[in-house]
């Protein structure tokens, strides 16, 4: 069995063995980010080593917002054009977004325990982020429960759009409500408030996590495409 550089044009029975250069690039980029964050970025004096959790927590949150934002956009266009490729894209982006939100919800408490003194608090940003995770887990469960492809795509599109309405509230929650969560350090109107070496690590993390999102999204999209092709051939 020959290994090929992309699974997109292989027969379905061979696609899983393909070596995807995008996935390799994403893996190397994320590994480089981890190495730089762990060994080549200075420690913050007040918070100590736990501050380094920030380099994986904030980029994971950015990718989750990007993923769910794209679910809403693709879903909106699907309701207009009824193109199945848009539904597959939304499905794939939602699943990858849930994975990144899971990382946000796990790494947040691991930072909160040593810095705040508690694993969890029901403040606005944390609670809304948990709700966002529940909405898109529900979205995926609902997709698994509806057999008719057109009905499933229509219901999913509506839920995908409604869920993404939480994103601006989550981003602005630290301004709108009294909350323990720190204010944005990079995504704000003024200049980033971080020393150069730490800022570089954070920007590298944003770039590598975004690349990882694209690679996972592509792989998940190919899975959905093969599934639909198989269903069409059986029907």
């Amino acid at each position: 069995m020959a290994l090929r550089w992309s699974g997109a044009h292989l027969p379905p029975d061979q696609a899983h063995i393909a070596i995807d250069p995008l996935s390799i690039a994403a893996f190397i980029a994320v590994a480089a980010t981890f190495v730089r964050a762990i060994w080549f970025t200075p420690l913050e004096r007040i918070q100590g080593p736990a501050q380094k959790i920030f380099y994986i927590h904030a980029p994971a949150a950015w990718v989750a917002f990007l993923a769910f934002g794209l679910v809403a956009i693709a879903s909106g266009i699907y309701l207009w054009l009824r193109d199945e490729r848009l539904d597959r894209f939304a499905e794939s982006s939602a699943e990858v977004g849930v994975v990144f939100t899971t990382v946000v919800l796990v790494t947040g408490p691991l930072w909160g325990r040593p810095v705040w003194g508690t694993w969890w608090t029901w403040d606005a940003r944390l609670t809304l982020t948990l709700f966002l995770w529940f909405i898109y887990v529900g979205y995926l469960v609902m997709r698994g429960a509806v057999d008719d492809r057109a009905v499933r795509a229509r219901y999913s599109a509506v839920l995908g759009i409604l869920g993404a309405l939480l994103i601006p509230f989550i981003h602005l929650s630290v301004y709108m409500f009294r909350t323990l969560h720190p204010l944005p350090i990079v995504m704000k109107a003024s200049r980033p408030s971080l020393p150069g070496e730490m800022l570089l690590t954070l920007l590298l993390a944003f770039a590598s996590f975004t690349l990882l999102y694209v690679a996972l999204l592509r792989a998940r999209y190919l899975l959905a495409e093969e599934r639909d092709r198989l269903q069409d051939s059986v029907a």
Binding site: S23, L216, R227
Partner: protein
Amino acid sequence: MMPDNAGYYYAAYVVAAVVYVMYAVSIWVRRRRQ
């Protein structure tokens, strides 16, 4: 004095790596089973 809380940071990096790798593997396994 700088707080000694490296255990939480190591745990966060390990958990994040495990979640991403497990998800990538799950896509590969699902494609293989189709």
